[in-house]
Symmetry: C2
Subunit: 301 residues, 2 copies
Amino acid sequence: MAAYLHLHGHPRVQNLSLSNPSRPYSLCYSPPMTIKMSQDQSYWSSINADIEAHLKQAIPIRPPLSVFEPMHHLTFSAPRNTAPALCIAACELVGGHRDEAMAAASALHLMHAATFAHENLPLTDRPSFRPTINHSFKPNIELLVPDGMVPFGFELLAKSDDPANNNSDRVLKVIVEIARAMGSNGVVEGLYKETLVGQSDGEELSDVSIGGWMRHTCKKKEGELNACGAILGGASEVEIVKLRKYGLYVGMRQGYLNRNASNEKELQKVVAELRNLALIELQHFKGHKVEAISSFINGVL
Amino acid sequence: MAAYLHLHGHPRVQNLSLSNPSRPYSLCYSPPMTIKMSQDQSYWSSINADIEAHLKQAIPIRPPLSVFEPMHHLTFSAPRNTAPALCIAACELVGGHRDEAMAAASALHLMHAATFAHENLPLTDRPSFRPTINHSFKPNIELLVPDGMVPFGFELLAKSDDPANNNSDRVLKVIVEIARAMGSNGVVEGLYKETLVGQSDGEELSDVSIGGWMRHTCKKKEGELNACGAILGGASEVEIVKLRKYGLYVGMRQGYLNRNASNEKELQKVVAELRNLALIELQHFKGHKVEAISSFINGVL
């Protein structure tokens, strides 16, 4: 987060400004241009608290304890990413109810947590740059338990189908969306590219890397998981496309901020550009929820 | 297969007898009591050829080659299990069309192949009894690529929804069924139990093991993946329950046959018992497809 904080100050106390000096544009909704971050903070806090409560109910610690205790731990110890909260916010933005996106948001966190565990699994051919985390369990458990978490995420999603609401088609669409984002052309590809970079001796995260492998990895690992809330909230095709792009830019931006780059100036430029691109996608939407969702790109999470 | 061959002779040349001396019962359909195994063989061959063709079309070798080549290899080099073919046979037994169960059958093989790769991943705390396979790729690839194969299986399933057929509810039911069977209370639990046995020094696969951990592992690893074809073929609830049980016994039986047990007599007894239990579940069904599906428990696959 160093680069971000250097640019904008601490997100908890700053004001949110939607104006952008380097790429001016007008927003078609008319919010107060400066809103208190504390309001947004409470919005995201309430979303995250609801997701956590939903997951805690979905993953009781029950037999076999040898499987469910690690599952509980790996789920709740993984760092958050942007996808679950953005899923809820997008659903609410288009007029959907939070409950409609709760299973998807929970599934997104489960799958992210599973990926995080496998990403940090010690393997003989893993590059040395990989961050060291505290491993609470032996490798066999940290391999197998996430293998159960991913199907469980899909189970939560498929069970959220409510025949009374006639939402089967939306749920199936979201399953396809999440499966693609998680799969061989999505997160797995991003992880693989990142591993390759770690294996090439001495390659630095230079300007070229920021535009090249890093952009690609941020897109695949962090960017493409963020579109499902709009579908569940009943968005139109145009709205889905716009919120998919918004999610892409938000996720990529977060991906850059989570990494260290040798050229901080270049990094800051890319991060600012992604923020602008993200805000442009929101111009289509109206209402007070726009302010809330736009605060994502000011680092509230 | 040693125990099985010892009991019944080579499955390709033997005759199929539905009678059972140790637990007599009558079948409510009236097939010829002895049918040529070659007929069944061609039934299973055609099913397996169709599944393979569907998977080959679904997994073209395309960029990124570094991900899709291993995915192709891991998918087609994994040994077959009973679930995919049984999925198709159950669908056809209840009057469904093969195409209705093809995505599910393909997904089942993909997930089985992913599990097989992770099961054989070299880890520092893996027990020494684990069978050595030829690893075509480095551990990082054999970890990551299966992580993409499981979501891809769910994607195939979710995309098989056909609004014209109004089958969304069936597809969602099958996603729940497969997710549960693959997850923390299913295959993952079975794998974990098997690992535990490997870790306890000197524990033998004795009579107690055959009834205890081995039964549990066969149930979880091989037994519970076999119910989805009936749902997709439009079976009634009663039919689904019966075919779920049939699949459970068939899968468990195959699980026992795939393992070595120190007490072969006990193993043969359990295998024969599971065959009887499986055949009882088929008494409910009528028509020539019953003969075909019953040949599963005579080791055609």
